[in-house]
Amino acid sequence: MKRHLLSTADLSRDDAVLILDTAEEIARLAARPIKKLPTLRGRTVVNLFFEDSTRTRTSFEVAAKRLSADVINFSAKGSSVSKGESLKDTALTLEAMGADAVVVRHSASGAAYRLATAGWSSSHVVNAGDGTHEHPTQALLDAFTMRRHLGGFEERRVTVVGDVLHSRVARSNVHLLATLGARVTLAAPPTLLPVGVESWPCDVSYDLDAAIPGSDAIMMLRVQRERMNGGFFPTQREYSRRYGLDAQRMAKLPDKAIVMHPGPMVRGMEISAAVADSDRSVIVEQVANGVSVRMAVLYLLLSGSESAIGSDEGQAQNQHQNTEPKGAAA
């Protein structure tokens, strides 16, 4: 039975379209005088944030409250890494409180998956960003924004630029956009691309300028300043020059192409202020769409006797069937 939203890779095309369509209907309700819907009355949604993210947490909080769910914000600063309360104990606590859904943000890749499959909790789990793995609702709101502007995904080209290696947003977008039929190009310096990226369902380019003219949407990823110390690229100046989106590069985009950024932006680094504030930029709209998309996700996961979307709890089991390596003598 589907229960969780952990990765966009788990979403079928039908699932993804259902989420976007539902979000579209929900967005239409946003203009009403009474924005609240009674749908999740009596349900408890816990925002479990092991990492600071006011934007994402607030977006989920508004989404859950507009569906009349009770919202508990549980910010667990300091994970078990720093010997605070462990993920397991936190999960047991929330289980005891009767959480119907746990929206989890964690610095460790796989934390949401672990929460969903380790048997500590029977709640629905929504991944709100796990380490450098995935951030499915961000990708969904990006897709929602793109569909509104581009009309669809078939034959549309989306270029994702920057620190793909450390970006959960990039991973979730590549899976989701490929599922929806768009063509994705990752443009980044080789040091910021993961090993094995050739097998991802997308194209890869080291040359942003080559990718720009064919792009219907361009998504700039944040480059964290600490990456500079990691030696991933020589200087901020060189990065901006080769992979930053400034007015000159923007001018080479097709006429109706949009500029996106999952935020928070580092103006002057991966995106110039002029571009961020231009009429091509849909960055503010992305934020607004986040609430509708998260309402759709919570609605589809929580409202019925079983979830309409998402991944299977039982997936992690049967692991041992894979233990005999392929090609090995039996």
Binding site: L18, D21, T22, E25, I26, R28, L29, R32, P33, I34, K36, L37, P38, T39, L67, Y299, L300, L301, L302, S303, G304, S305, E306, S307, A308, I309
Partner: protein, 189 residues
């Protein structure tokens, strides 16, 4: 869903449905003393098409266009947790808004009354109508709430084990409109 379900017997044919809608259109105008502040809101999916048809008949009779919209009640249902999560239908409120108007809710079948209860709640969140009325093609009885229809195409006594199936040209890919009375195992509407 098969266009004409097996084992179902027709209880209304296209002509019956057409006459019923024409009658309801007249009744609405009569009760409202004209079409001035009437707004029709169909409950998806078939109620939406019936509302469109009623609006067309009112236009024929009165020569005026009444605003028509749709009101999805899914998010207001009281049985959400009993069934798998379902897709939302379209809510389309005409630009005039519902405040101060006579809203006629339009649905295909009136049964337990729970859908209409949800619709009243949904409407309440949209504004404050002057009055709310209900038009249905078929009233099959077995109410579970104190709700009644103001305009009924056909009162159809049924057993709770039976299913009423409405088939409309716009929605169901059929040649002719019809209402069937199905056997227990048929998919509910």
């Amino acid at each position: 869903m098969p266009a004409i379900p097996q084992g179902a017997r027709p209880v209304l044919d296209e002509a019956d449905i057409s006459r019923a809608l024409t009658r309801i259109a007249h009744e609405i105008l009569e009760r409202a003393k004209g079409a001035e502040d009437v707004m029709l809101l169909g409950i998806p999916t078939r109620g939406t098409f019936l509302a469109d048809r009623l609006a067309a008949r009112i236009a024929d009779v009165e020569g005026t266009t009444v605003p028509v919209g749709s009101l999805d009640v899914t998010m207001y249902r009281d049985d959400l947790r009993l069934k798998p999560a379902r897709a939302l239908e379209r809510t389309e409120i005409p630009d005039e808004g519902v405040d101060g108007r006579l809203i006629v809710l339009v649905d295909d079948v009136l049964y337990s009354g729970r859908t209409i209860r949800a619709a009243l709640d949904a409407l309440n969140d949209l504004g404050r109508p002057r009055a709310v009325q209900l038009a249905v093609l078929v009233d099959r009885g077995h109410r579970e709430l104190p709700i009644r229809a103001d305009y009924v195409g056909k009162n159809l006594p049924t057993s709770q084990r039976e299913t009423v199936l409405v088939r409309l040209r716009e929605h169901d890919g059929v040649q002719h409109d019809a209402v069937y009375l199905g056997i227990e195992s048929e998919t509910a509407i």
